[in-house]
């Protein structure tokens, strides 16, 4: 099997599994307990917090463990909104192609009276600091922009955007779920006030994430019922998950440079090969993109059938087609970069990690064109395009 859906989730590393096991077996204490086994769990929690803080250039006291990226996004945005509202500021700036953890939270805030501006992301899926600067108003309380897009992989100019926010005295949050532990992030140097990440995107476990919140910034809890995480996140800590996340993160950060080099080379070979398919287009920025992200649209076919056929060939991929989203509309990300509906339905995302190989890229370069050709041959849309009855949208 070729696993090329690492943006959805990753396989856990041996390091991450080994780190977790003792806390499922002998070290099962509750960190809030006073006895020895409880305190050992507490020490592990402290150590994990320090590790994560180190990887992000943060202080340990600025790291809050959550159930994942979505919870971290919810808490960050809700907290900033509450701080803003107390000061009469109810304007929030974000982008049209955020993850739904951000967009749906903003939608709720909008219903609660907040004014939300979603910036355009342009044809390559990029937001500029100038756009952010121009959008900030007197009553803006938060700018939340993802570090890198989960579907098309475009990496945003986060340090520059954060600098604008700092100068304009607006809280800046970034959903770094796809970027953290994949590309260099330093929250202090990059002026990031709040950042969300998730363990399972870098070979850690599912169900555990992190919210970084700059010291001095008020955080409000979403979950009440205990003093854990400095009263900001009630509930007995997921120690095994937290320890494992920290181990995975350290491993990823220690090997970041070599992983980026290796995965980028695989990605670029895959992109170059798939670009040979006629009437296709790469989605996202050609160079400012996540090392592992490949995303194409192929005209005249639909994404889900592509995924099923690739699955038959042992290749795990993903698509922004409506049929895979369970809704009638294709991916909001592809629509946001201006792809028409009929093109967005024919999207394919292959997301790589450092464990993918050159041989796997070869196999994908053989399988994908074959599948595209096969589906086009039975597509009435393709027939009409070929016969000149309708016009190609993609070159």
């Amino acid at each position: 099997m070729i696993y090329a859906d690492n943006a959805a989730t990753t396989r856990m590393s041996r390091t991450a599994i080994d780190a977790m096991l003792p806390y499922l077996e002998e070290e099962y204490g509750n960190p809030s307990s006073l006895h020895t086994i409880g305190q050992r769990a507490n020490e592990a929690l402290t150590a994990a917090r320090e590790t994560v803080a180190d990887c992000l250039g943060a202080l340990p006291g600025e790291i809050y463990f959550t159930s994942g990226g979505s919870e971290a996004d919810n808490q960050a945005i809700r907290s900033a909104a509450r701080i803003g509202k107390a000061r009469g500021k109810t304007h929030i700036i974000s982008t049209a192609f955020e993850h739904h953890a951000v967009l749906h939270t903003l939608k709720q805030l909008s219903a609660e009276g907040f004014d939300v501006t979603l910036l355009d992301v342009g044809p390559e899926g990029m937001v500029t600091p100038e756009q952010v600067d121009a959008a900030i108003r007197e009553d803006t309380c938060l700018v939340t922009i993802m570090y890198a897009n989960n579907e098309i992989g475009s990496i945003q100019p986060i340090p520059e955007i954060a600098a604008v926010c700092k100068a304009r005295k607006v809280i800046f949050h970034t959903d770094a779920v796809q970027a953290a532990a994949h590309i260099p992030i330093n929250v202090k140097e990059q002026n990031i006030d709040m950042l969300s990440l998730s363990g399972h995107k870098f070979h850690g476990p599912k169900g555990v994430g992190v919210l970084y919140c700059r010291r001095g910034l008020q955080l409000y809890s979403l979950i009440e019922g205990g003093a854990q995480e400095k009263n900001k996140r009630a509930g007995t800590e997921n120690i095994a998950g937290i320890v494992s996340l920290a181990a995975a993160m350290k491993e990823a950060c220690d090997h970041m440079e070599e992983n980026i080099a290796k995965v980028t080379a695989l990605r670029d070979r895959l992109i170059a090969g798939l670009s040979q398919i006629p009437h296709s287009v790469l989605n996202g920025h050609p160079t400012k993109r996540l090392p592992g992200n490949v995303n194409f649209c192929f005209e005249g076919i639909e994404g889900e059938s592509m995924l099923l056929l690739l699955d038959d060939k042992g290749i795990c991929a993903s698509s922004g087609s409506a049929c895979t989203s369970g809704s009638l509309d294709p991916s909001h990300v592809l629509l946001a970069i201006g792809r028409p509906h009929e093109i967005a339905h024919g999207s394919l995302r292959l997301s790589l990690c450092e464990w993918n190989t050159d041989q796997e890229v070869d196999a994908m370069l053989e399988a994908v064109p074959e599948v595209v050709r096969y589906l086009r041959n039975m597509s009435p849309v393709w027939r009409d395009l070929q016969s000149g009855k309708s016009q190609f949208i993609l070159k």
Partner: protein, 142 residues
């Protein structure tokens, strides 16, 4: 993937009657590329019998499987039987479809009936318009 029944996967992997009939006696195309699925059915009719049927589909796995199954169900049948084809029968023949994929079976039914209507219209055969209404893209609400 457990999303689909074995039957659906079989018809998706090995679709029956894919292709085009040149000089077809009736052709029906339904759906919309914006919605993500289009089905086109070609009928060859000899006397009162559907002697051949082909389809082309742009769409997801269940759209391809539904078209394939629908063509199997009507091939060799008397023309009048096409009016009786329902999306429910297509779904049953496929051992079920997930709820959000039921519209694919509706499209299959509509494609067959649209081809039948074309056949009737071309050959000046009278029919009850209520049985073969103009198809709109009601299933997808775009």
């Amino acid at each position: 993937m457990a999303l689909y029944s074995e039957k659906v996967m079989d018809h998706f992997r090995n679709p029956r009657n894919v292709g085009v009939i040149e000089n077809a006696d009736g052709v029906g195309e339904v759906g919309n590329a914006k919605c993500g699925d289009i089905m086109k059915i070609y009928l060859k009719i000899d006397g009162d019998v559907v002697t051949d049927v082909k389809f082309e589909t742009f769409g997801c796995g269940s759209a391809i499987a539904s078209s394939s199954m629908a063509t199997e169900m009507i091939k060799g049948q008397p023309v009048s039987r096409l009016l009786e084809l329902t999306n429910k029968a297509v779904v049953e023949a496929l051992d079920g479809l997930p709820a959000h994929k039921l519209h694919c079976s509706v499209l299959a039914e509509e494609a067959v009936k649209s081809a039948l209507k074309d056949y009737y219209d071309r050959h000046g055969i009278e029919y009850d318009p209520k049985l073969l209404p103009d198809v709109s893209c009601d299933a997808c609400h775009v």
